[in-house]
Symmetry: C2
Subunit: 250 residues, 2 copies
Amino acid sequence: MSSVSLEIEQHTFTSYKEFEENFEYKGERLYSMIFERNKDKIKVSKEKFAIRNLQKIFNATFLISPKIGFDAMSLRDLSAETGLSMGGLYSSISSKDAIAIIVKDVVAVICEEVVDESREQDDPLEALRVLVKGYLYASTLMQPWFNFLYFETKCLPQINQEESKNLELAQVGELEKLISSLSPDLKSCHKSGFVATMALSMIQERYLKPWKYHNPEKTVDEYADSCLQLIYRAACLEEATPCETGLKDS
Amino acid sequence: MSSVSLEIEQHTFTSYKEFEENFEYKGERLYSMIFERNKDKIKVSKEKFAIRNLQKIFNATFLISPKIGFDAMSLRDLSAETGLSMGGLYSSISSKDAIAIIVKDVVAVICEEVVDESREQDDPLEALRVLVKGYLYASTLMQPWFNFLYFETKCLPQINQEESKNLELAQVGELEKLISSLSPDLKSCHKSGFVATMALSMIQERYLKPWKYHNPEKTVDEYADSCLQLIYRAACLEEATPCETGLKDS
DNA sequence: TAATAAAAAGCGAACGCTCGCTCTTTTTTT
DNA sequence: AAAAAAAGAGCGAGCGTTCGCTTTTTATTA
């Protein structure tokens, strides 16, 4: 239960670039993980072929689905985009639903790891930073996956919908825990819950509206800092940069 | 061009209850408006029948669609829920798409009115209050409509998708204009844009996640005040309640 | 007011089409 | 040569939509 990982003290990321370099599921690694977790439902047995097809399938899904929605995307659309035949598709996925379920699965795994890394921090302020930046960076790196899950949760079987909803509740709960521990004075749970909600909203804002943020990549770091500043101010923490009231140049 | 409405000085709302009472599209009024705006596409000519059917159709849509998505909702589902036959449905709507287009239309009209009322205010601080509360109250009153448009924009024809996206940009632009005029000191557009984005996110948060906020109605007022406080703090306005740092009771 | 004719609204089986999915055959890899 | 992967025609089900018919409402007349 109590996960103590003192032996391998990981270096905690500070920038998006660093986070990206150390990200566990870069490139084929992600699809290797998906293959391992779904071996029983995948007819293709050689990892090499499975990975190649899964890559095609998810790339195509994230190309088509955001434009017309997952329900409206037919497997024939998918077949055309991937270059695989109907039979080819069904050798790597068990059903259309399975695609959405795997997305939910992947996002859940990644979120869990972000929370884990935050909990490894001793200083709650540092834990908050790691949580906010970790979630923000991870969701940027995996933008199509997070975006898909948000918009297409409705397409999932009931049980998976619940899981998706609980994922969000867990995230906001984790944020609230840290915020209220840092600022126990503001009217208890009432206010810290609101701040936590705001924090999560701002994180989601970025991956939900890619048409607003598809410009330069470096601004993810700036965005992350702005979010943290906003949290500090909202929670009245002294870490907030002072207001520059009344200062005018020129 | 310059809309001067000094003759009839409307009283500006202060609470959700008051906003609700004065809301222009209460009950049948909304469907009367829809009928007027879509007369040409509706086969039923008598308003009485059209309103009754439209009411049934949209109520049913907002019951089914949030659960499984608009695309997955068949007109047979809609027929069963409304009690209308297939032919009956098609006498009041021209196609399945038309339902989504009407929703977009209604939301656009309401948003425009909120902006109009905000612009009538002379004091920019009051204008900001009216804009935030107006948008929040209107989207609460019309929650299924706003929620539907956000999640099902993808189902709209391309041109209507653009309109829906511009609606959001207009809202955040209006917010930013007011915030930057109130707080010109914080690094110009860079920061005020971020605060405006946050404000809109928090407004949307509420109608996007009804499963988080379906409890008592009165908390909409509290939520609105929290949002405004957050904006004041984020923008370093003196209207923000001071931080109660280090104050502990018991 | 009751009877009747004209108009409008409502109905639902049927249509052409596309969907997710299967299964036998062919091709590629080992 | 054996095994694995890819192909794609074909299946029944369900889709959005239409249209000829019935029922209800409205207007007119007695």
